[in-house]
């Protein structure tokens, strides 16, 4: 009994490394195409996201990554193709329905309510889960208040999880960029999503902020079990964080696989280093 067993070693291997193939498919995109007039933003792309994985979508500027996210959460309606989410097929979906179906997202350019406090912003993320109608909410006391307390508790857990207690009552407009990104992640988490879409969560961050954000993304994935689809330019981050990577270029899928496979793919290297198209 002299030495405490190396508990820490056991942990990393036991979870999170389950092979992606064995998992259930959460979202499946089949032959999806999207065009704006003559511009083909997405050209016949198929890929899937398995439950519990971190799926990265990468590609050079203008590759169609953000369009892809917009298709997934129903902001854009693809002209062709079928999207299957949690087993049910759809062609089109309104963004607010995407939320109630368990898809939450953050944006490339932070889209928070700048004048509202961190707490209020995250509470806004609970809106779709509130059941009392406007009448009860105006009355405030009684059921609406009880409901708000329950939601507030959930929000406080997220605040604790993302370590933003110290900025709870600060208007988000006053916060540094890195923290705003974190608040946005908190608001997305407040929806308790099945699938979390992160559009460049590390853009414009310094090294320390990136490390913090990476750790939070891993925590969200491992501890809350949330599936994550991630767009990111920092290849180092992508390789470290993601289980599988899909690479887009000019609206086409050019590679799909584990970070190591993708890294070796000639098409990917060409797309990034630049070869005449």
């Amino acid at each position: 009994m002299s030495v405490i067993e190396k508990a820490a070693d056991i942990t990393a291997s036991s979870i999170g490394l389950q092979k992606a193939e064995e998992r259930e498919t959460l979202l499946d995109l089949a032959n999806v195409s999207l065009s704006f007039g003559g511009v083909k933003a997405i050209n016949n792309i198929s890929f899937d996201i398995k439950r519990g994985e971190v799926r990265a979508i990468i590609g050079p500027n203008g590759a169609g990554k953000t369009s892809m996210l917009n298709v997934i959460n129903g902001f854009y309606q693809p002209q062709e193709g079928v999207i299957t989410f949690r087993g049910s097929q759809r062609r089109s979906m309104k963004p607010h329905l995407a939320v109630s179906h368990g898809i939450a997202r953050t944006f490339q350019n932070v889209a928070l309510f700048k004048g509202m406090s961190t707490l209020d912003n995250i509470m806004a993320g609970r809106t779709t889960r509130m059941k009392r109608n406007m009448f009860w909410q105006i009355l405030y006391y009684g059921p609406a208040q009880r409901e708000e307390i329950a939601h507030r508790r959930k929000v406080e857990e997220i605040i604790d999880f993302l370590e933003i207690a110290h900025i709870r009552s600060t208007p988000v407009g006053k916060l540094p960029y890195g923290l705003q990104k974190r608040v946005e992640l908190a608001r997305a988490l407040a929806m308790e999503p099945d699938l979390l879409l992160l559009d460049e969560p590390m853009a414009g961050m310094n090294l320390e902020e990136k490390e913090d954000m990476s750790r939070f993304i891993i925590d969200v994935n491992e501890q809350l079990g949330t599936t994550i689809a991630l767009i990111e330019h920092d290849i180092g981050v992508v390789m470290d964080l993601s289980d599988r990577v899909v690479v887009l270029d000019y609206g086409r899928k050019i590679a799909d696989g584990s970070p190591e496979e993708v890294q070796k793919n000639q098409d990917v290297i060409d797309a990034y280093l630049g070869v005449s198209h």
Partner: protein, 660 residues
């Protein structure tokens, strides 16, 4: 309930048991968790401690074993201290921010068998070094986050252990009675706690304090400032530091007052505002930081607010301190001050969380006279004390109405003080430590046969009976001219300027005095912003010529001041430089309590010191730095060295020549 909390017992478990009866429903602890303050009254605290203690017993914890307490100020960790003491064990609080290698020395030296830690970070640290700790049997943690998949063979949640304790009591209520009987036999002479001194030199030493040391000191201190069960304090300083142990544990138990644990280190300001403690300790750094913060914010405020602020501060400067000291003040001045209280002082105190402050103490480093006066003029009873781990904190205290910014007060109740021949302050007190753990040699060096303890500080008594501390006795040196050189004295004078964060002065056995300076990034950064000076990093700002001009002016002012003081006039700063990086505890340049490690810095920056003395005006340096995550990198750059004016000394009176 009017009963005074005296003679409740001579050990903390006994005091806790009594408190649970006498103060039953009064709040004993609060913790902000998930945004809400959760309160435990004394009765509940006793039950929490009882459950934990009996749970520990179940883990085969025996009397005399040592328990490391590692983490930020959490109620569960304070309960662990009491739970361990009730079983006759000795708690050993350890600095939570120490890295694994630092921790291994203390854990090993203290023969720790159980570690009670706050969260995953600390669990990982202890697991990392568990190979080197054959005596360590169990790890208990408070916050389960991230620990779900760890092997729980020897790792337990505090709540689980408490659950075991509760179940055992339910099964066999006699356990509870036996538990109480178990500590009824403890004596005041038993060791209550072991606190490792951060050690500006050499290895940390484990200071063993007995219940008598702590209980007597705590009761005397409560009586000195009239503290009772209605007080509120904020526990936010490291638990391993004797101050926190006394203010948040010993005094709280003896007076029955409430200890409030903030949400985290970053929320202390907001939490303090919500709690508005009545009794608070803060190192000078905190008060300096707050004032700088206010000044910076006021510079950005609208003209009306700014004008009001400055006007009423002038009023406060004239009237505030006299009112606080109970002196006679004209009615018109009183009325004006009352208006100021309404418009400025009240809101300001509210912002700082000092609205209900009855007594505030500061110690550890000298506090700038202006800063000290500022707070007192607002009507805050801020006082200084002098103490150390070995004395259970209190050696001298400033009594109400006798406050001087340059002294640390008069001897505390029951404390005798002498100035040794070499100028060192020595004392004998009921709070004097028993011994250093497993270090008889150091004990003998520090504490003589008659019980006199050497502080290592050079000081002198002024005519008003107050003690004035000059410097560490071993740091006081002489220039080659024979003039007295007290580095800390010079450093503190410079640090009183808001723009200067840290200073290291050199001069012992040298021809003249010189200094390394760290600018304060908040203050100078704000100044740079207002003056349209662009900078990308600390290094760039520190090397800016305008910054050099500004710091040069401060050095000049200090030299003028030094010239006025007969004793110190010889050691004016002749040359100085602004360091290209901030001194940092992670690089070993500061102790964990943010004190400068003079020798280490002298070795690390030897080329810069040479440059200060060889007359060069520029020096290229490369310095390795350690980042927070343990990796290292390097910074390099050219450091400029400037000369400062030296002023003629006033005629030397010579009367105080021998004092240091």
């Amino acid at each position: 309930m009017a009963q005074k909390p005296v003679n409740f017992g001579d050990t903390f478990p006994k005091v806790l048991l009594a408190n649970a009866t006498v103060f039953k429903d009064k709040p004993a602890m609060r913790e902000k968790d998930l945004g809400i303050w959760i309160t435990w009254n004394w009765g509940e605290v006793l039950e929490e401690v009882r459950a934990l203690s009996i749970g520990l017993q179940h883990l085969k914890f025996r009397s005399g074993e040592k328990v490391a307490i590692v983490g930020a100020n959490r109620p569960q960790l304070y309960w662990s201290i009491a739970a361990v003491q009730a079983l006759g064990g000795v708690p050993v609080p350890i600095y939570a921010d120490s890295v694994a290698e630092e921790m291994v020395y203390v854990l090993e030296h203290a023969d720790v068998s159980v570690a009670v830690v706050e969260d995953q970070e600390q669990v990982d640290k202890v697991l990392e070094i568990s190979d080197q700790l054959p005596k360590l049997k169990h790890i208990l943690y408070d916050d389960p986050r991230g620990l779900r998949d760890y092997d729980h063979g020897h790792l337990h949640a505090i709540t689980d252990i408490q659950g075991i304790g509760r179940a055992l009591i339910q099964e066999n209520p006699m356990l509870s009675t036996n538990w109480e009987a178990g500590f009824a036999g403890q004596s005041g002479a038993d060791v209550a706690v072991m606190l490792y001194t951060s050690g500006t030199t050499g290895r940390p030493k484990g200071v063993m304090l007995t219940y008598d040391n702590l209980v007597v000191s705590a009761r005397n201190a409560n009586a000195f400032d009239g503290l009772d069960s209605s007080e509120d304090t904020l526990a936010y300083l490291p638990m391993a530091w004797v101050g926190d142990h006394v203010f948040s544990y010993a005094q709280a138990l003896c007076a029955g007052y409430c200890v409030n644990c903030p949400e985290g280190a970053e929320t202390v300001l907001a939490d303090r505002k919500e709690i508005a403690p009545t009794y608070l300790f803060a190192p000078p750094r905190v008060f300096e930081g707050l004032l700088t913060h206010i000044q910076v914010r006021m510079e950005d405020a609208g003209p009306t607010k700014r004008a009001l602020f400055h006007y009423f501060l002038k009023v406060a400067e004239r009237v505030g301190e006299r009112l606080l000291n109970g002196e006679k003040v004209k009615l018109s001045e009183r009325l004006l001050y009352a208006l100021g209280e309404f418009c400025i002082y009240g809101p300001l105190k509210n912002q700082m969380g000092f609205s209900r402050l009855k007594v505030g103490y500061t110690a550890g480093e000298a506090i700038g006279p202006e800063i000290f006066k500022f707070y007192r003029s607002l009507g805050l009873n801020l006082k200084q004390l002098y103490g150390q781990t070995e004395s259970s904190v209190f050696i001298t205290l400033q009594p109400d109405g006798e406050i001087y910014s340059d002294t640390v007060g008069v001897p505390f109740t029951g404390v005798e003080i002498k100035i040794a021949e070499n100028g060192e302050v020595i004392y004998r007190s009921p709070g004097s430590f028993k011994a250093y753990y497993k270090n008889e040699e150091a004990t003998r060096e520090t504490k003589d046969a008659e019980g006199w303890v050497h502080t290592g500080d050079a000081g002198m008594f002024l005519e008003n009976g107050h003690l004035k501390i000059i410097d560490r006795a071993k740091d006081v040196g002489r220039l080659t001219s024979g003039a007295l050189f007290a580095p800390k004295y010079i450093e503190n004078k410079l640090k009183f300027f808001a723009n200067i964060k840290e200073v290291v002065a050199f001069g012992d056995q040298r021809g003249f005095a010189t200094a390394f300076i760290n600018i304060d990034l908040t203050s100078v950064g704000n100044w740079a912003e207002r003056n349209n000076i662009a900078y990308a990093s600390y290094q760039e700002l520190a090397a800016h010529p305008d910054v050099y001009e500004m710091i040069g002016a401060h050095v000049d002012q200090v030299n003028r001041d030094l010239a006025e003081e007969s004793l110190m006039s010889g050691a004016q700063i002749k040359r100085f430089l602004i360091l290209h990086k901030e001194l940092d505890a992670d690089d070993g340049e500061l102790t964990r309590t943010q004190k400068v490690r003079r020798k280490f810095i002298a070795e690390r920056y030897a080329p810069l010191i040479e440059a200060l003395y060889d007359g060069s005006t520029r020096k290229h340096v490369v310095t390795t730095v350690t980042f927070e995550d343990g990796r290292s990198g390097s910074v390099e750059g050219n450091v400029e060295i400037r000369d400062a004016n030296i002023y003629a000394a006033k005629p030397l009176s010579g009367q105080l020549e021998d004092a240091a």
